[in-house]
């Protein structure tokens, strides 16, 4: 199917193709730029192009491909780095040098790399879509290969193979491939969704202890610039107790991505000791890369995450930042001349966000195992104002809200999670879990810790008026204990050993502080002076 370009406006191109479906992929111009149909009119289609349209001319050809935008899924995705359209950036660099010029198609998977296939099924077996055919070893992971179609297996070959060839055939002649394509905007199927039960330990005390997060949950991290969103996201990517991490740098800084890559190659996973990169997939669509591809990047990432979830792994998707995605959506919407909603964002912003975030969850996969996809998404509200549309839209769906506070960041209190405003809807279930696995005192300690922080806040207001000397000894002791909670317990330096804190360490630390407080309080009651008590 081919036609011509009729008009061009920013990232949207009008073509005279007929018979296309909405969200079909189209290649436009002599450079064969990739685009997606976003609007169909009588005899023309409006295409959102994922690359720089500069240099594109009217009258140039446009080709319909009859498939929607897809990603390639198969062994070898792990430790890879891709752009928003799943082009492998390392190989792109080898081929085109340090700059990305666009119009280039590269297979996301290395088709020449040898793999070893261990079949589970044999010739003659009937299989249904989603059934496991066997596995290949991808680093430390058992990468399950599942059937994409129903049928009876005629042959299946164990041993070495490459993705260029099949691993078997069906009785009716169809070949069995170890890799597949999947449309990015279509959630991958599962049998049923389960409710989040187990905690996702992030290694960040303020999250694990005060606002615990669940496997299969969603959390948002909104914060103005300089509040440490990226550092927190990266710390979680390093230390979270998950099998696989998909990290999306969506419209963020290029140098940050370079730093992340260099660090992840040298660091190891604290839970397994394996190199961190072997469990990580990075999708990088930096702020100066094409805007429309930025919009696609989070879908590319979530589809890869779901693919590994379907093998029964626990996958964590980290996106930095969702606001840049929303801005891309706004830019595309305004070039389509749609009616704007709040602050120029399209009115479908909230529903798109909700359906994206609903792709998280704990599921029973088609093959009957349990997989989970959790999401931690950062939001960059303009001017640090949380009443803006993106933060508000996220709040309706997200299970945890970890508000990053500019005032804390200025005091160099990191992670700058505000302990009064943040919340986690998973808290009750997770506290129960920690009480059972770490210590039965978890819940009680959490309550006391909160109370101390709350009382400190009240006392601080008094102290600002009368001076700290004007407070009673008991109150001054409380301020001291709360200060220790803030400085020693809730702060964590991302550049030291303390960057990761396991649950038992977390509990021991808060236990020490509470014990210090209880003892000192008892001594005060016995008539000692505060200064002596604090001396030791």
């Amino acid at each position: 199917m081919s036609g011509r370009i009729l008009g061009i406006s920013g990232p949207t191109v009008t073509v005279d193709l007929k018979g296309l479906k909405l969200y079909d992929m189209v290649r436009v111009g002599e450079a064969m730029l990739i685009g997606e149909v976003v609007r169909l009119e009588e005899d023309r289609a409006v295409v959102q192009v994922y690359e720089d349209t500069r240099g594109l001319g009217v009258g140039e050809q446009a080709k319909g491909v009859n498939v929607p935008l897809t990603v390639r899924l198969g062994p070898g995705l792990l430790s890879g780095m891709y752009d928003g359209l799943q082009r492998p950036l390392e190989r792109l660099r080898e081929e085109t040098g340090p700059y990305i010029s666009g119009g280039r198609e590269l297979h996301a998977l290395d088709l020449e790399r040898p793999w070893r296939f261990f079949p589970l099924k044999q010739a003659g077996d009937e299989v249904a879509e989603g059934d496991i055919l066997g596995h290949v070893e991808e680093g430390p992971f058992r990468h399950l290969i599942s059937a994409m179609e129903n049928g009876r297996i005629a042959s299946i070959h164990p041993g070495e193979f490459t993705l260029a060839g099949p691993v078997g055939t069906y009785a009716d002649g169809r070949v069995i491939q170890a890799h597949q394509e999947w449309p990015v905007r279509k959630p991958r199927p599962y049998r049923r969704k389960l409710s989040p039960q187990a905690p996702l330990v992030t290694g960040q005390r303020s999250i694990d202890f005060l606002f615990p997060f669940a496997r299969g949950g969603t959390a948002i991290l909104p914060g103005g610039f300089g509040t440490g969103k990226t550092i927190l996201e990266q710390a979680i990517a390093k230390f979270a107790d998950v099998d696989i991490v998909v990290y999306v740098g969506c419209g963020e800084r290029g140098n940050e991505m370079a730093e992340l890559l260099e660090e992840f190659v040298t660091l190891s996973d604290p839970w397994t000791g394996q190199a961190l990169m072997t469990r990580t997939i990075v999708v990088a669509n930096t702020s100066n890369m094409p805007v429309a591809a930025r919009e696609a990047s989070i879908y590319t990432a979530v589809t890869m995450a779901e693919y590994y979830r379907d093998m029964g792994f626990h996958v964590l998707l980290l996106a930095d930042s969702l606001s840049r995605w929303a801005e891309a959506l706004r830019e595309i919407s305004s070039s389509l001349e749609e009616m704007p909603g709040e602050e120029g964002y399209p009115t479908y912003l909230a529903s798109r966000l909700a359906s994206f975030m609903e792709r998280a969850g704990v599921v029973e996969t088609l093959s009957g195992s349990i997989g989970a996809l959790s999401m931690i998404l950062s939001v960059s509200p303009p001017g640090g104002d949380f009443t803006e549309p993106v933060t508000q839209a996220c709040l309706r769906t997200a299970g945890a809200f970890l508000m990053l506070d500019t005032a804390l960041a200025h005091r160099r209190h990191f992670p700058a999670i505000n302990w009064f405003q943040s919340y986690s809807l998973y808290e009750r279930d997770m506290v129960e879990h920690f009480s059972a696995t770490v210590s039965p005192r978890w819940g009680e300690m959490q309550k006391r810790c909160r109370e101390l922080l709350q009382r400190e806040e009240t006392l601080r207001e008094v102290a600002e008026i009368v001076g700290i000397e004007g407070l009673q000894d008991a109150d001054r002791l409380l301020m001291k204990a709360a200060e220790r909670i803030r400085l020693e317990f809730l702060s964590q330096n991302a550049y030291t050993e303390d960057a990761f804190s396991a649950p038992d360490k977390t509990l021991a630390m808060i236990g020490d502080i509470l014990e210090f407080y209880d003892r000192a309080e008892a001594r005060l009651k016995a008539g000692e002076f505060l200064d002596d008590v604090l001396k030791g």
């Binding site: 800084r253 891309a328 303009p382 640090g384 160099r412």
Partner: protein, 439 residues
């Protein structure tokens, strides 16, 4: 692909810097056009949008005096910048025409004005220390090669003196000096002559792109891109370390808003276009280093915060893209501190990699953290002092107040003197010792 120029006389309307031409066949987005003015002069423009046979052109330069009969020549070429090492030492206007009375150089090659995005895997991590000579920056908010670190100033604060100081005093850690690309946007004549005097005093190589306050707004959008195309050429083709100073980004953003409104685009916050983040990123993100190449592009944009408001869209979006910020404070300026850098909201995100043994000094991180911690405490206490008075405070708190004052007076304030990193750190140590705050 057409191989010849096409001339059309079908301008249907002119709106600010925008021109609508009808009945145009075969045209491409980004194509350069020449418009012949009724007085015989020509000016350039670029194709922005095509709808069938109607073409929207953005004109670079003043559209006053144009009429609908003006012929428009479509050149079939995309805007390119002439690049050469001969560019060093030259001064150009916002349209890349020499204004230093010397003839145009012969380009070695032509490069795309807007550049290409750098492949993130090709980036080398910025970690080489740049000594600016200012303690507040070197000691507490260290700049490294390949970083983009804006100066957030307020109207009336000495941002140009600070920028000039950095231009004059910056040294690379391993010795060697920068080539400076200086981009002036919407500068008054007064500011322009100040900067030109500074540039002439410098011994290092420089390239200047000057767009003055009374020159076309469109050139304000073009000049930084020309400057960056040159910087990339000098850095990654010639292996030089380039420092790009752009002042003032506020004028750039206002120009962007002006053009966007003329295009009848949907305004975002405060009338600035919704794509301002991406547009600013297309400039700022061109800073960096590339693996296996020796040069670097470091960027120092100056942003004047309207109404001293750091949440204004211009500083806000800038802060989201750049790797930190140097914030100037009116209060410090009034106290006579120069440079009036408020270290609390200032930040260098890439500092961690650029300091310590092998970069600056082993004790750098420890000193910086202590100074910051105690100064922050002292600043907090100032509010208390305002309520209860100095006499109502305990001795240790009074000492913190004195420390904060001394910190501003002795460490941040350095007048016109240049301090190397050892002097900066030693000043810090001396302060900490005097107040016996460890170290």
């Amino acid at each position: 692909m057409r191989l010849s120029e096409h001339i059309y006389r079908t301008v249907s309307s002119i709106r600010g810097p925008l021109l609508f031409v009808e009945q145009v066949l075969s045209v491409r987005v980004g194509e350069v056009v020449r418009i012949i003015r009724p007085d015989g002069g020509t000016m350039e423009g670029e194709v922005l949008k095509i709808d069938g046979r109607t073409v929207l052109i953005q004109v670079f330069g003043e559209t006053r005096g144009l009429d609908v009969n003006s012929p428009v020549v479509f050149t079939d070429a995309v805007k390119k910048a002439p690049l050469s090492a001969d560019i060093i030492g030259r001064v150009f206007n916002g349209s890349f025409l020499p204004i230093d009375n010397a003839p145009m150089f012969i380009p070695e090659r032509w490069g795309k004005v807007s550049g290409f995005p750098m492949n993130p895997t090709a980036r080398a991590r910025p970690e080489e220390f740049i000594e600016t000579g200012f303690s507040a920056i070197d000691g507490l908010n260290t700049l490294v090669k390949g970083q983009k670190l804006p100066i957030f100033s307020c109207a009336g604060l000495p941002s140009k003196e600070l920028a000039a100081g950095i231009l004059e005093n910056s040294r690379l850690a391993g010795g060697g000096e920068f080539v400076v690309v200086f981009v002036a946007l919407g500068l008054t004549h007064h500011e322009y002559s100040f900067y030109m005097r500074v540039i002439e005093r410098m011994r290092t190589g420089f390239v200047a792109f000057i767009n003055k306050a009374d020159e076309p707004v469109m050139e304000r959008l073009l000049a930084p891109r020309f400057g960056l195309a040159c910087a990339e050429h000098l850095a990654f083709t010639r292996g030089m370390d380039v420092l790009v100073v752009i002042t003032d980004m506020t004028n750039y953003c206002d120009a962007l808003r002006e053009v966007s409104t003329a295009r009848e685009e949907l305004p975002g916050r405060r009338g600035y276009p919704g794509y301002m983040y991406s547009d600013l990123a297309s400039l700022y993100e061109r800073a960096g280093r590339i693996k296996g190449m020796s040069g670097s592009v470091t960027m120092l944009p100056v942003v004047t915060m309207p109404e001293d408001d750091i949440t204004h869209p211009i500083p806000d979006l800038t802060g989201y893209i750049t790797e930190g910020q140097i914030v100037l404070s009116r209060e410090l300026h009034q106290k006579g501190v120069f440079p009036p850098v408020d270290v609390l909201p200032s930040l260098s995100r890439l500092m961690q990699r650029g300091i310590g043994a092998g970069h600056t000094r082993e004790d750098h991180r420890g000193i910086a953290n202590l100074l910051y911690k105690h100064y922050a405490k002292g600043r907090d206490l100032r509010r208390l002092e305002a309520i209860v008075g100095r006499d109502g405070m305990v001795e240790s708190d009074r000492m913190m107040l004195d420390f904060a004052d001394a910190f501003e007076r002795e460490l941040v304030n350095q007048g016109g003197a240049r301090r190397d990193i050892n002097e900066s750190l030693d000043t810090g140590i001396a302060l900490l010792r005097r107040f016996s705050l460890e170290k």
